[in-house]
């Protein structure tokens, strides 16, 4: 079909506001879709611009939407990781410390 031919070689542009979306999140999202399309990322002060190029005839219209959702999810993942990193480190330290999982406060 006509449409089929078009979608394989026409790159699509997606923009993200730099104030809410980090380059890191975009890169992580891009990595996840590596088998379906490639992402060229042009970081900017106000906006990050992504150029999506299809591999293997993936339907870019549909993929663009998936990519947007994924970038949002990755932004959330980055946030969760940042917010929980200290607690994570603390739990692991506790797990492998010599006193074991007992709270130091409780050792009287």
């Amino acid at each position: 079909m006509d449409a089929n031919e078009q979608k394989s070689d026409r790159p699509t542009e997606v923009r993200f506001a730099a104030s809410t979306t980090s380059v890191d999140a975009i890169q992580r999202a891009a990595y996840r879709f590596g088998d379906r399309f490639s992402v060229e990322l042009l970081p900017g002060v106000d906006e990050h611009i992504c150029i999506l190029r299809s591999r293997d005839d993936a339907d870019l219209d549909e993929e663009t939407e998936n990519f947007r959702v994924e970038v949002l999810d990755q932004t959330l993942r980055v946030r969760i990781r940042k917010e929980t990193e200290p607690i994570r480190t603390m739990i692991l330290a506790k797990a492998f410390s010599r006193t074991g999982v007992v709270d130091p406060q409780d050792l009287d």
Binding site: R28, G34, I87, A95
Partner: protein, 484 residues
């Protein structure tokens, strides 16, 4: 009037929630959330929004569920931290304690000529392709140098029964050594059973040896996969299985199948064959990408998708049989379910991170070379020595375990720091399998978005969670598999 306070009085106030580390994955509109140690819960899209935006209400079903699964806590609470630490420690301790598997390739010779097997030789040249006693003894030295409390020695080939004399000697010597060591010692012979004699059976019975054999399914499938003079591989295997069941006991025999293109639409026939033989479980095994299979391009014919369908259909059929009262376990799912539903680390080499190579298994080849895994040895037979860790004549346990050939893949493949895996909700169920990724993509890590390993595992994880959440019978069956 009452001296009692209502439930509201004990509900937490809404603004001091702290997130605990968690990961998520969208599943058709719903969202899977896993906590730091891999306990899961499935939330509706709306509930997940509430969690994501951080505007959690004071008390609600959602808050209860999130607290129960240690996804959130109040700032003063310490119990959730202790519990997460305890679970992380338990898992890790089991990992460190996991059975050390020591594989002795006692002979490379084999009387079969299977097309996907790249290691065996059809040769009468014993001197060239059999392990010598001196090499085996060095292998035993190394086995007993490993710290695990339980040691499993597995004899492989080629066809190991072609060098049965050596097996007897290794078993005897290992038992003598173990009198002082007191480890939990076990033996397995991986054989096609074509050469199973009463003498072998008798020896196995006396030394409590387990037999693991190959069974690809019904006769036509099996015999096409495994040509041997007389075209009777299946008949011999089946006869062998019957005899092992009766002389050693049902729990001393297990069968492993090799999945080929021809297997893919015969999963029911394959399972029926296993059931008919009275085997208690089956391992719906992914097709191996190694060695001959890659050379002949027979691997590329299988895309991950077709295998996943094969697995889904097989698992569905196994559950159906269980529903009818048969006790039949699918072992690949069981490995994953144990990680999903318990704090036990099953120590299955392909699904471990850090990778199970070296720690989970060492392979002593017939010629004395040491490999990080059986697959690593197969690659070597094809001329790629990447996973060769050293040689029994010149290396010590320490030099093997600190060799670059082991540490580099371990480090580079570590899932917790790998792109995609580090954020993956399934990371604790999964593994890093550097040998696989090396074989398929040339580096230890592999790009997970393009990796069939990842695609296949993710599909299985999602499928298992879907069944667990929505089908009471499957849930119970899964719990009982995990609890074994």
């Amino acid at each position: 009037m009452s001296r009692f306070r209502g439930a509201e009085a004990f509900a937490a106030s809404g603004d001091d929630w702290q997130l605990l580390p968690f990961r998520f994955e969208r599943l058709n509109g719903r969202v899977l959330v896993t906590n730091m140690v891999g306990e899961h819960l499935v939330l509706s899209g709306e509930d997940f929004e509430v969690l994501a935006t951080g505007e959690l209400p004071a008390d609600s079903d959602l808050v209860r569920r999130l607290r129960a699964k240690q996804v959130i806590k109040r700032s003063g609470e310490r119990a959730p931290l202790s519990l997460l630490a305890l679970k992380a420690r338990t898992r890790h301790a089991r990992l460190a304690e996991s059975t050390g598997l020591h594989i002795f390739v006692v002979s490379l010779r084999c009387e079969h000529s299977c097309p996907y097997c790249q290691v065996s030789r059809q040769s009468e040249d014993r001197d060239r392709y059999d392990m010598t006693l001196a090499t085996a003894e060095r292998g035993l030295d190394m086995t007993f140098r490993s710290p695990s409390r339980s040691l499993k020695i597995e004899f492989q080939g080629g066809e190991p029964l072609l060098n049965f004399g050596l097996i007897e000697e290794v078993v005897r010597q290992a038992e003598v050594r173990n009198r002082d060591e007191g480890r939990d010692l076990g033996f397995v012979i991986a054989s096609n059973l074509a050469l199973l004699s009463d003498e072998v059976l008798d020896f196995c019975a006396r030394h409590n040896i387990h037999i693991s054999t190959s069974l690809d399914g019904p006769a036509d499938l099996h015999n096409r996969n495994r040509p041997r003079p007389g075209r009777d591989s299946w008949e011999r295997a089946v006869d062998g299985i019957r005899r092992v069941r009766e002389t050693l006991g049902v729990d001393h025999i297990s069968a492993l199948m090799t999945t080929t293109k021809r297997s893919l639409d015969r999963v029911r026939d394959i399972i029926d064959t296993y059931v008919d033989l009275g085997l208690r479980g089956i391992f719906l095994r992914p097709l191996s990408p190694y060695g001959f299979a890659i050379k002949t391009k027979s691997y590329s014919a299988y895309d991950a998708e077709r295998w996943i369908d094969f697995y889904r259909e097989g698992l569905g059929y196994i559950l159906e049989l269980n529903r009818q009262g048969l006790d039949l376990t699918e072992y690949f799912s069981t490995v994953i379910l144990r990680k999903m539903l318990t704090n036990v680390e099953p120590g299955y080499v392909d699904l471990m991170s850090p990778a199970g190579i070296g720690i989970g298994a060492l392979v002593y080849n017939y010629d004395g070379s040491v490999y990080a895994s059986d697959e690593g040895r197969m690659l070597a037979e094809m001329g790629d020595e990447t996973f060769r860790l050293g040689h029994l004549e010149v290396d010590t346990y320490e030099s093997i375990m600190t060799s670059e050939a082991l540490l580099a893949p371990l480090e580079e493949s570590f899932a917790l720091s790998a792109p995609m895996c580090s954020d993956c909700a399934f990371e604790t169920y999964c593994g890093s399998d550097p040998v696989y990724h090396y074989a398929t993509s040339g580096d230890f890590l592999g790009r997970k978005s393009e990796s069939d390993f990842c695609r296949r595992n993710m599909a299985i994880f999602k499928h298992l969670i879907d069944l667990y959440e929505n089908d009471e019978f499957a849930r119970r069956t899964f719990l009982s598999w995990a609890g074994r």
